[in-house]
């Protein structure tokens, strides 16, 4: 092997470790340090559904081009888990670097890669790390070694460690000492691993922050006026609520009493029941869950829809069906959430794809739920919710809270009559009165049973039919109110790529790859259900549309086919779900394959 020019700011590292060993902290230090140097980074944590002792992988991507999709290949491997090391090593491309503990049971056996044995024990001894902390500190050894190999700036490392161990100076010192010792060792032991990859300061992250989608959503909810939170723990949604609980005291200090009640319910049925009760009584209420919880919430979702109570439900998706893979990412609850409930139920669903959207949708969901008087679902996923992403800082909302059509006692006093479900404005939405309203006209008994305009129990066929027609009118109102798709039109493109949520980076990067292969594409990222006319326009503009999504059944494709039946056959499908975020080369290849199929089909049918 000859020594090529170092590759600068465009590579990736995979750290294979054992979960519960603190390696996530080490990975975060590494990521943050490079981010501090102004270089775009992204990370994907692949962790097992257990607490301690099982294999885990972290992939850190460094990309001056700003790509943040999961990389298809990582030329640097930190092989700190002997159990998976052989398989991990087999994934390393030729010429890649493999860091591993010199004192461990495993050595890489490949001639076409560059091994680098790290004297972990010796470094920890040298720093004097005590017995209890050794397993954790061991991970800082690879951070230090990589800092040396990649030439990470010291100030950036310091800032990263300080941020990570915020407020615990002894921890900061200890970890920095390990990092520096490892750095010094690596600097003093030149090897072919040096100068192959390096980082170099940029200005691409100035003013940006690193955050996960669950935290973004939590801050959004707090800013959006959440008043009642009921939840039941489930991966990967738990950290949304836990983050909300941890930010609440700072953002909404309870000086005159708590302004938000957070209750861990006994299960997801109760969680949504509490949310619906709270929404009915006038608070902004939400829950967060994942697939199994969504399934359990089905009956209450139908009640919320039909009794017309606001509610916000975050579904941080993981891989299903059933318990599935709790710690892997998917986009496979789209259909079940949209239609959640028996007997003609349909919901409003927001589809955030960025940290800023997680933040803003958390607020918008409340505005919509209260305006539309209905449950609003927000579909995030493990990749968005639990991985760390770069983001611009969020902006403080400019609009006041939109609390919808609520009649106070004073409002009622001005009316001669009041019917809860009269469609006064023609948008399908009646006027609510909140419990506690003292006006004699205000009281009403909400219900999931058939009722007339005055919310009185009714089995009359005409009452039923009229009420359902109004609910569909309301659905049309929702269609106009939800966020428009994010469209990027390429003037020459005959091909449109369509997706939603966390696949955006892979699709964006795949467009560049397709362009390089001579195929110009437009793209549309759907932001909400129900789908609007812009969606049809985009599809109408493109001869071939390929819908890219992370589920097995092509669920968005199905909804698009139903939305514009006239174009049903021009919608190709790349539906893939194996628990890992998509990579750009995979998307490119699949799109090419689908296009070929569609072209052949078009040829055949045109003959």
């Amino acid at each position: 092997m000859q020594s090529p020019q170092p590759i600068v700011n465009e590579f990736a590292i995979t750290a294979a470790t054992v979960n519960g060993s603190g390696s996530q902290t080490a990975n975060m230090v590494l990521m943050r340090a490079i981010f501090q140097m102004g270089i775009p980074v992204s990370g994907k944590n692949l962790f097992p559904s257990n607490i301690q002792g099982e294999p885990t992988w972290y992939t850190l991507r460094v990309s001056q081009a700003g790509y943040t999709a999961r990389p298809a290949e990582t030329p640097i491997l930190v092989a700190f888990n002997p159990r998976t090391a052989n398989e991990d090593l087999s994934q390393l491309p030729a010429g890649g670097i493999c860091l591993y503990p010199a004192d461990g049971p495993w050595q890489p056996q490949r001639a076409d890669i560059i091994p680098l044995a790290l004297p972990v024990r010796q470094i920890l001894d040298q720093v004097g790390v005590g017995q209890r902390l050794r397993p954790y500190a061991a991970n800082m050894v690879y951070v230090g070694a990589l800092a040396a190999l990649l030439e990470i700036e010291d100030a950036a490392l310091v800032k990263a460690v300080q941020h990570q161990f915020r407020g615990k100076s002894s921890a900061v010192e200890l970890n920095l000492a390990v990092i520096r010792a490892a750095q010094a060792w690596a600097a003093n032991n030149p090897s072919p691993a040096h100068h192959r990859f390096r980082v170099a300061r940029m200005q691409a992250t100035t003013g940006m922050m690193l955050i996960d989608g669950n935290t973004a959503a939590a801050i959004g909810a707090i800013t959006g006026g959440v008043g009642v939170v009921a939840w039941y723990p489930i991966t990967p949604s738990s950290s949304l609520i836990e983050s909300l609980e941890s930010y609440l005291p700072r953002l909404r200090p309870a000086d005159d009493g708590a302004t938000c009640a957070v209750v861990q319910a006994e299960d997801e049925i109760a969680a949504l029941g509490i949310v619906i009760g709270a929404g009915w009584a006038g608070a902004r209420a939400m829950t967060a869950t994942s697939g199994p919880g969504i399934s359990l919430m089905t009956e209450f979702a139908g009640l919320g829809f039909f009794a017309e109570t606001p509610a916000v439900i975050w579904d941080v998706q993981r891989v299903g069906p059933s318990t599935g893979l709790p710690t892997r990412t998917a986009q496979s609850d789209l259909l079940s959430v949209y239609y959640l409930g028996h007997g003609d139920t349909r919901h409003v669903v927001l589809l955030p794809g960025t940290m800023e959207e997680c933040y803003s949708d958390a607020q918008l969901a409340f505005d919509l739920a209260e305006y539309l008087q209905t449950p609003v679902f927000v579909l995030s996923d493990l990749d968005l919710g639990m991985n760390i992403w770069m983001s611009r800082p969020f902006t403080y909302p400019e609009q006041p809270l939109q609390r919808g059509k609520v009649l106070s006692a004073e409002d009622l006093a001005k009316l001669t009559s009041y019917a809860r479900f009269a469609d006064v404005d023609g948008d399908g939405i009646g006027y609510r009165t909140l419990p506690g309203n003292p006006h004699p006209l205000a009281a009403t008994l909400s219900r999931g049973t058939g009722h007339n305009e005055r919310n009185v129990y009714s089995e009359r066929p005409d009452d039923w039919q009229r009420n359902m027609a109004r609910l569909w009118r309301k659905h049309e109102t929702a269609r106009r109110m939800v966020p428009r798709p994010v469209v990027d039109l390429h003037p020459q493109a005959t091909v449109g790529l369509i997706g939603f949520g966390s696949t955006a980076p892979a699709i964006a990067e795949a467009r560049d790859l397709l362009a390089a292969a001579g195929i110009a594409t437009s793209s549309m990222r759907v932001r909400a259900l129900p789908l609007g006319p812009e969606v049809t326009d985009f599809i109408a503009r493109h001869q071939y549309c390929v819908v890219i999504e992370q589920n097995h059944d092509g669920q968005l494709r199905q909804l698009l086919q139903l939305h514009c039946p006239a174009y049903a056959t021009r919608l190709g499908s790349v539906a893939w779900c194996d628990g890992l975020p998509l990579t750009a080369p995979f998307v490119r290849d699949q799109v090419l394959a689908v296009l070929e199929q569609m072209r052949e089909l078009a040829l055949v049918t045109s003959k």
């Binding site: 940006m208 922050m209 707090i222 909404r252 049925i269 029941g273 608070a283 909400s446």
Partner: protein, 343 residues
């Protein structure tokens, strides 16, 4: 024409009624509804401060038949407790009055029932217990007695769930049992429950005249009338100031509630200290073993904070907080953003 009497806030009894009942003529649930109406009238409740909550069943339907000037939610089968919990959190100044059935509470709803009581949501929870599913036409519920026979459903071989014992175990501080045929006791218990600071459960045996009123049924009018054995004669005295000690020592006891009113328990056949948790469980267990139909205030303990108190909710209900309090200040928001940006 004589005017209907009005209460302290100027309302007539009629103001506490609801829609006309669609239950079977003679259904126990209608008697309970009457006593709810009477109690609310006598307590001079402001209708808008009460919310009526229910699940699904004949019993739950009856939420429509009282307190028509109160908001309410006739929710899902077995899930009223969670909806009520949410309403309490959103507005803890409202007092939930709930009716449920034995199927709604003890079959499908058992888990929610127990967890509601653990949280001590200050609900008045009336179980209209008839041992059957009325609305679905006469199947056994989980409170049906062992060995009981029903026309279509045959013989029940499972032990009944005792909602009072479950309530006590769950930490509920006001647990009573009564009989729809004992109007006065039901009414006094409801009034006392309304003044209790915390969750209050009243298990009212409420005969289903259509499906479970034959003489051998322990949930029938005949059985109730011939077997009811009240542990005390209960009266609710709204203000302590009015209390006059008109009994001999040992004949009765007064229990004062935290806001001043008093529950007076005039001893009947047996000694029972309702503030003793173990004694309460023992009373239920003995009655069960002896097939006795014991009614009255079985357990009373007002010590636990309500859920809203546990969570530190302030005076203003969350539902009524102004925007300033529902949103972070710009400064607090900016500080968090700065921290996240690593500044």
């Amino acid at each position: 024409m004589t005017q209907a009497p009005v209460n302290a806030i100027g309302l007539t009894k009629n103001d506490y009624r609801g829609a006309p009942s669609t239950l079977c003529a003679g259904c126990g649930h209608d008697s309970v509804a009457s006593q709810i109406i009477a109690a609310a009238f006598e307590l001079s409740l402001q209708p808008h401060t009460v919310i009526r909550m229910s699940g699904i069943g004949c019993s739950s339907k009856s939420a429509a038949y009282f307190l028509g000037r109160s908001h309410g939610f006739n929710s899902l089968h077995g899930r009223m407790p969670s909806v009520t919990t949410g309403a309490h959190l959103a507005n803890h100044t409202l007092r939930p009055l709930a009716v449920s059935g034995d199927g709604d509470t003890a079959s499908i709803g058992l888990g929610q029932f127990i967890h509601l009581l653990r949280r001590n949501v200050p609900i008045v929870y009336i179980v209209e217990n008839n041992g059957v599913y009325g609305l679905t036409k006469g199947q056994f519920s989980a409170t049906a007695d062992e060995g009981q026979e029903l026309k279509h459903a045959g013989v029940n071989h499972l032990p009944p769930i005792d909602v009072c014992a479950e309530a006590i175990l769950a930490g509920c501080g006001f647990v009573a049992r009564s009989f729809a045929g004992d109007a006065k006791q039901v009414r006094e218990l409801i009034k006392a429950a309304f003044n209790f600071h915390g969750a209050a459960v009243i298990d009212v045996i409420s005969p289903c005249v259509t499906f479970n009123n034959h003489d051998r049924s322990t949930k029938s009018y005949t059985y109730g009338k011939t077997h009811e054995s009240p542990i005390h004669d209960i009266s609710f005295i709204p203000h302590y100031e009015e209390v006059t000690i008109d009994y001999e020592p040992g004949e009765a006891r007064d229990v004062q509630l935290h806001d001043g009113p008093v529950i007076r328990l005039r001893k009947l056949h047996r000694d029972h200290d309702p503030t003793d948790r173990m004694a309460a469980l023992a009373l239920l267990e003995e009655a069960r073993a002896a097939n006795e139909f014991v009614t009255g205030l079985i357990y009373l303990n007002e010590r636990r904070p309500t859920l809203a108190e546990t969570l530190g909710i302030g005076r203003t209900p969350i539902a009524a907080l102004p925007e300033e309090r529902l949103r972070p200040s710009r400064a607090a928001f900016a500080a968090v953003m700065a921290e996240l940006a690593g500044e």
